[in-house]
Symmetry: C3
């Protein structure tokens, strides 16, 4: 198994945790929480692959991803109180997952021969649309539509990657710099409550 496959498994695991933890109130049972974790983890990549017509979808052909999700949901269920205490650590893992998924998605789209502009959008979709679908299904307003820097950080990182790639930078170094761009932007934005300008 390649390093990228391990990243995918780990990202899926952490996304499932953050999805299941999004179910906070008493109205939901553990099945709903599991379903939510599942949608959060596979939604973005599935949407990307469906839009690109790239079959089979990762989780359909690789059942290990499903077990990573089940593990994430189980950890959320049994480790609830413990996880809440490590909220800051979780935020870091979520940010890392977001960064990795963006670059995985961008590279996958490029490998299928689409233009860089489209690949950047597909990278961002991979990272954020799982959460958007989750929030839509549970009638929350997706974070993407609030004034928090989130999807825009992913798009920025994908663009940085594509520009450095065009300039001929070594791939590993480029991945490192792009992931750092997303993570740093996101962390600084949350830390200092930075926002983009309003639209109206």
């Amino acid at each position: 198994m390649s390093l990228l496959s391990y990243f995918e498994l780990a990202g899926t695991f952490f996304f499932a945790i953050s999805g299941a933890l999004a179910i906070k109130d008493k109205e939901h049972d553990w099945f709903g929480a599991g379903f939510t974790g599942f949608i959060t983890a596979i939604g973005g990549g599935s949407l990307r692959d469906v839009l690109l017509g790239s079959y089979p979808l990762a989780w359909v052909s690789n059942v290990n991803l499903l077990y990573a999700i089940l593990a994430g949901v189980a950890v959320s269920y049994f480790g609830w109180k413990w996880l809440i205490r490590f909220r800051r650590t979780l935020f870091l893992f979520d940010t890392l997952g977001l960064s990795l998924f963006t670059l995985l998605g961008t590279e996958k789209a490029l490998s299928l021969g689409v233009q860089p502009e489209i690949a950047a959008i597909m990278g961002m979709f991979s990272a954020v649309m799982g959460g958007v679908i989750r929030d839509t299904l549970t009638n929350e307003t997706p974070v993407l539509f609030r004034k928090e820097i989130y999807a825009s950080a992913c798009l920025l990182g994908a663009i940085v990657y594509l520009v450095l790639r065009e300039l001929g930078l070594d791939r590993d170094l480029n991945l490192l710099l792009s992931v750092a761009t997303i993570a740093t932007t996101r962390i600084l934005a949350v830390r200092y409550k930075l926002t983009l300008g309003g639209f109206s």
Copy 2:
């Protein structure tokens, strides 16, 4: 036409009725009700086929399914008061449709060569995602996220089918037992207000 095709037509008809009946208040016109019935009836199977990359979708290649939906919507429109009186019968038909769609979806996914775990999820998706999409579009919280045993019954039935299939049970008998599992679980859960445990 095979027996399964008749089941599919009947299930589509009943799902269209339950979809159209979900439009209760005066804010909606008959076009919105028809659209809702349509989405409810084709949403789950379409999502399954899109996720599996199995083209053409059933309703795109078989226009009879569209007429089954139109018939269901017309019955809902003209038989409104009559249907309300038979709410208990409708619940039974809905439960039967749910059970049949789960097994149809599970078998279809298996026939496309996916792993049993994935086939079970695809079976559940076939049965419940039409209603989830309908509820999301009309800004309701999908029943799946409330504490009612619904999608979990479908998943249970799909797992029962896959286990019995692994054990070499005759297909017809297996389908009968699995459908009975889903229907019984759902009916008992509603009758005795059974719920799964809460998540937090």
Copy 3:
């Protein structure tokens, strides 16, 4: 480039404007508005192509559509006050876009060999589902489910096109008449507050 391609670019541009303008309150930043414009512009056509299994999607293979969207969002951002004054003109453009997208979608579906009934639905989906997805993501009730004549006008126009086509009418004349049917129905419905009958 064919005339139809120009129509597609123009329709995409206007849909992006109407999508971005849907973001009215101060809660959103310009990234969210751009995302909304993007979803509005490409949602309907993407859904049609995914349901038909017709790859690559238009905006994935033609990056000019992305630039038409960016232009539309930029015009919305910088021309906000100016656009508000021309609300009536915008409504006309939106109606024209709706009409063109319906016929583009119907013809595309037909060209892929589906039955006329299905092609009519695909045409309507192309025109209205971008807005439906936008409204669902931002937690609005889609206009389609309110008592306004909107999607039904698109479906009517698609049916008119298909009937006239069956009768052997010249394609250009047919397109003109069908577009006029949709636009006239929509304009009269808004002008005279016409509605379809309620469902219950």
